[in-house]
Symmetry: C2
C-alpha cells in the first residue's frame, strides 16, 4: 500500500479535503466502509504521524481550466534562458567549499559557489537513477544502460568536467526483498548484483577551476523503506574497532561478496576503495592536491557515509567529504564521533517534508511516547552526523503543496530546492536557472500552470523499435554497453602505464 | 465509475480471484514477526512506507525467473518474418467479402481473404487511438496529432492502400462525463469537440485489387463504460420515421452541433454524410463501382451503426457494411429490422470475454435476477444486429488467462485474435503473422515469456525535447498538424476541379 493510500485510508476525510489525486474520488463510499472498520489505534497512529510530520495537506488545484497568467511569460522567458551561468574560479576557496570548517558561514545564506557544487554532486547521484535499467524483462535489468565512457555524454553531464573511471557493483548476503532489481529471465548479466554507483575524477580544466584533483564516488539509492523500518532499525553492527555501530542492512550492501558471483567476487567496499586508493596514489604521485567527495541520495547517502568512514581510515590526510540528499540515519553516536575524529565532513541536504531522513527511527526516535505498546523493542540509537542544509518544499512557487511522499523525497525535487535556496528566511531565488521541468522526471510535483506531464522521463515505446520487417522488437544492447566484470581492464592498463611513466619522470627528476 | 471498479464492486470475488492486485505478496514471513510487536496500525504504516522509495515500478506478479523454452526460438523466428503475406486479388469476390450474403459461409472457418479485410478495417479503427492526443496539458488535447495527409504515413498504414480525405469532429449536447478528452488550458484548439474519426478512400491500386472503389469511415471509440452503464441504458430515442429507436447518448454524439463552436457548426453526422455523398457522387461519376465500409471499436462501433443507417437511407443502392469490434448494443429490434430492410450488412467481431458487447444491458438483460431492486426501471430492449465473428481470448497461446477487462476489450487484442482465428473448433493459427507485440501497446495481455513490456506505446519523454539551451520543453506542433476547421478547403477545391473535369469529359463524350 502506497503511503498516500495509507493516509487516505487512515485519516479522517477532513484532513485531506479535496484529495490528492483523481483516483481517490472513485469510490468514496468504499473508503467510508473501510474507515468504519479501522481500529482506533491505527487512526491514532496516522493522526499522530500527521502532526508529527507537520504535514500541511492542501487540497490540490482542481481540474478547472488554467488561467492565462504570468506563467505564460515565464514559459517564453525561461525556455530561452541557458540553464547554467558561466563557472566561477573557486580554486582559492576549495577547502572551505569542501567543508574543512564544516561549511559554517556558507550555508545560510548559501554561498553561490557552494550551491553550484552541491548541485554538481547531486547531478552525479541523479545519474545513477537516470541510467539504471529497471526493465525486469531485460537481461540487463539492474545494470547501467551505458558503459562508463558514455555515461556522462548520454546524460548531458560532460559539462561538469569529470570522467568516470570505474563502475561499482553491490550485492547483499542478508535477504532484503525489494532491494535488488532483478531480471525475470534465466540468462541475465548477473543474478546477484546491481550496478550501485561509480567513481569519477575531475578533468584537468575542472581541476584548475576547483583547485584540486577531485575524486567523486556517487552511490545509487534504490531501496524500499520497509526494510529500513522493519529490519534496519533493530540490528546495529560494529564498524571499525571502537564502539561505532551502523545499521546492518546498509553494511551488508556495502561489504557483501561471493566468490561464485561475476560482479561481486569483491565487495562494493573493496571495489570502490581499490579504485580510490589507486587514483589517490596516482595523482599524489603527480604532485597534485587530491580530495574525495562522496555523494548519494536516500540509501545512496547511507552508503556514502560508510564509504567515507572507510576512506578516512585508510587514506589519512585525504580531505573526505560527503554530500548526501534525503539520506536516513546510519549509525550510533559513537559512529558519528569517530567520523568527526577522522575529519570526515558531511553535508546533509534535507527537505523538511521528506520522511526518509527521519528513518530509521521515524516513529521510534521522534514520537516514542505516543506508541507505548512498542517501546520495549527499541533504543534511541540512530544519530545524524555533520552539517545540515535544510530545504522547504513550500519555498518554491513551482511545486505543488499536496502531501506527496514520493515527490518530497525525489532527488530532482532536492536539486530544484537547492537551486532556489538563498537563505532560510528569504524567498525562492528569482534568478534560479536550473530547468524546473526536471522536477517531474519521475514524480508529480510541479504546479499545473507549468503544464509539465508527471513522470515524463521515459523511453520511446519502452525501448521497443520497429525492425525492417515491421515488427516491434527490443534491440540488442550495444556490445560496449553490456556490463562485463573484466570491462575495466583497459582502463586499468592505461592507468598502470601512466603510473609507470609518472614514476619514470619522478625518477628522472631525482637523477638530474 | 470505471468499468473495472464496477466489476469489482458487483461481481463475486471468485470471478477475479488471483488477478488484479500484485502488491500483497512481498514479505509474508517478516510481517508475521513484526505482528507480535506492533499493533495493527503500526503494521499498516510499515506496509505503507514500503512504497515510499520505489522510484519506478511495482513488482510484477510472479517474480520468478522465466525458463528457457520454445519461446526463445519463437523470438528469433518471428522477428525475422514479415508481418504480411503478399496480397491476394479479391476483386471477383468483393461482394461476398463485403457481406452481400451476410458472410454466411465465410466465417467458420474464416476465409483468409476475409480475415485480411477484417484486420485492415480494424487497423483503420486502431489509427483513431494511436494518433489521438490524450495529453490534457496540450492545447491540442482531443485532436489528432497529425494532419490527414500524414496520418497513415505516421502510423505505418500506407501499405493498406487508402488515402484519408476528411477528419470528423464530434461533440455532445447532453452531458456525458468522461466522454470528451479536454485540455486543461484556457486557449485550446476546441473546447467542445474531439477528433472522432475520418473518411478515407482506396487508391487506384487497392481499388483494382478489391474490385471497387471503397470508401471507409473509421470511428474512434473512447468512452468510459460507466456512461453506458449509468446513462446510456435507459433512454432510447427514435431514429428515422418508424419504430426504430437508438440509445440517446450515442445519437447525441453523432448528431450534436452548435453554431458557436469551431469544429461542430455541423454535426459529425453532417460532416461524414457530406463527405461520403461527395465521394460517392464523384466516383460514380467516373463510372466506378463504389462501396461504403464503416468501422469502429467500442463506442466507435455504435457510431458506425448509426452512420450506416443514415448512409443507407440517403444513398440507395450503395453497398453499406459495418465491421465493428467490441461494440455495445445500440438500439431496439425495430432498429435492427430497419437496418436489415435497408440492406446494411453488419459483421460484429466480439470476444467472448469482453464485457462491452453486453452493454447496455450487461446487468439488465443478462443478470436481471441479481439486481432485483432496479428491475422497475428497465426494459429488455437492446438488440444486437447482423452477423457475429466470435473470438475467444483463451484460444491464443500468447495471451494471459487472468481476468483483465481492459485487455479483453482492447482493439489490439481483437486484431490479434482475428489474425489467429481459423474456426471455432480449431487452434490458433500457427502461421499467423501479425506482430504479437502490438497486443501490449496499451494493456498487459501478453504472457511473460514474450518479454514484452505492458502498455509500451508511448512517446519518448512524453513528447518533451531538450532545446538548445538544455531545457526540456514541449515543442510546438508542426503548423500543418494544427487542427483547422477550414483545413480541408484545399482538398475540397481539388475535388471540385476533378469533378468539373469529369463532367467536361462526360459532356465531351456525349457530344461525340
Amino acid at each position: 500500500m502506497a503511503l498516500s493510500t495509507m493516509i487516505h485510508t487512515h485519516l479522517p476525510t477532513t484532513l485531506y479535503g479535496g484529495a490528492v489525486n483523481r483516483i481517490s474520488s472513485i469510490s468514496a463510499h468504499r473508503r467510508v466502509a473501510v474507515d468504519t472498520k479501522l481500529n482506533r489505534g491505527a487512526r491514532r497512529l496516522a493522526e499522530s504521524l500527521t502532526s508529527l510530520l507537520h504535514l500541511n495537506i492542501d487540497p490540490p488545484s482542481s481540474r478547472k481550466n488554467l488561467q492565462h497568467s504570468s506563467w505564460d511569460s515565464f514559459d517564453e522567458e525561461k525556455h530561452n534562458t541557458p540553464t547554467t551561468s558561466p563557472k566561477e574560479m573557486i580554486a582559492d576557496k576549495w577547502r572551505q567549499l569542501h567543508g574543512c570548517t564544516d561549511w559554517g558561514s556558507l550555508l545560510d545564506p548559501l554561498h553561490p559557489w557552494l550551491r553550484r557544487e552541491i548541485v554538481k554532486y547531486g547531478e552525479f547521484a541523479q545519474a545513477t537513477y537516470d541510467a539504471f535499467d529497471f526493465d525486469s524483462f531485460s537481461e540487463y535489468c539492474g545494470s547501467c544502460r551505458y558503459n562508463r565512457n558514455r555515461l556522462f555524454e548520454k546524460l548531458g553531464l560532460c559539462k561538469n568536467g569529470y570522467k568516470v573511471t570505474k563502475y561499482i557493483y553491490a550485492m547483499s548476503t542478508i535477504e532484503m526483498p525489494r532491494w535488488l532489481e532483478r531480471s525475470r529471465l534465466m540468462d541475465t548479466w548477473s543474478k546477484d548484483s546491481n550496478w550501485m554507483g561509480y567513481v569519477a575524477v575531475s578533468d584537468d580544466e575542472e581541476t584548475r577551476r576547483i583547485g584540486r584533483r577531485d575524486i567523486v564516488v556517487a552511490w545509487r539509492g534504490t531501496v524500499a523503506p520497509a526494510e529500513w523500518y522493519e529490519d534496519f532499525q533493530r540490528d546495529l553492527e560494529p564498524i571499525g574497532i571502537g564502539d561505532a555501530k551502523v545499521e546492518h542492512g546498509f553494511l551488508s550492501i556495502y561489504t557483501s561478496k561471493n566468490e561464485s558471483t561475476r560482479y561481486n567476487k569483491s565487495s562494493a567496499s573493496e571495489q570502490v576503495m581499490e579504485e580510490v586508493m589507486k587514483l589517490v596514489q596516482f595523482y599524489r604521485g603527480q604532485g597534485e592536491e587530491v580530495s574525495l567527495t562522496i555523494t548519494g541520495h536516500s540509501l545512496g547517502g547511507a552508503l556514502a557515509l560508510l564509504n567515507a568512514y572507510e576512506a578516512a581510515v585508510n587514506l589519512p590526510g585525504l580531505p573526505v567529504s560527503v554530500i548526501s540528499f534525503g539520506a536516513p540515519r546510519v549509525g550510533n553516536s559513537a559512529f558519528r564521533d569517530e567520523l568527526d575524529d577522522l575529519g570526515v565532513k558531511t553535508l546533509r541536504v534535507v527537505a523538511k517534508q521528506d520522511l526518509v531522513p527521519r528513518m530509521p527511527g521515524l516513529v521510534f526516535n521522534e514520537s516514542l511516547q505516543r506508541f507505548d505498546d512498542i517501546t520495549g523493542t527499541l533504543e534511541w540509537v540512530y544519530t545524524h552526523v555533520g552539517a545540515e542544509l535544510r530545504l522547504d518544499v513550500s519555498s518554491s512557487p513551482y511545486l505543488k503543496r499536496g502531501f506527496n511522499p514520493m515527490g518530497f523525497h525525489s532527488l530532482e525535487t532536492y536539486l530544484h530546492l537547492v537551486d532556489g535556496f538563498h537563505s532560510a528566511e528569504s524567498a525562492f531565488r528569482s534568478d534560479a536557472r536550473r530547468d524546473v521541468t526536471l522536477v517531474n522526471k519521475a514524480c508529480d510535483m510541479l504546479v499545473d500552470e507549468l503544464r509539465i506531464p508527471q513522470g515524463w522521463y521515459q523511453l520511446a515505446n519502452k525501448g521497443l523499435v520497429c525492425n525492417e520487417h515491421g515488427r516491434w522488437v527490443k534491440p540488442r544492447r550495444e556490445p560496449e554497453d553490456i556490463p562485463s566484470p573484466i570491462g575495466d581492464q583497459a582502463h586499468e592498463h592505461s592507468l598502470r602505464i601512466q603510473m609507470q611513466e609518472n614514476y619514470q619522470m619522478l625518477y628522472a627528476s631525482y637523477q638530474t
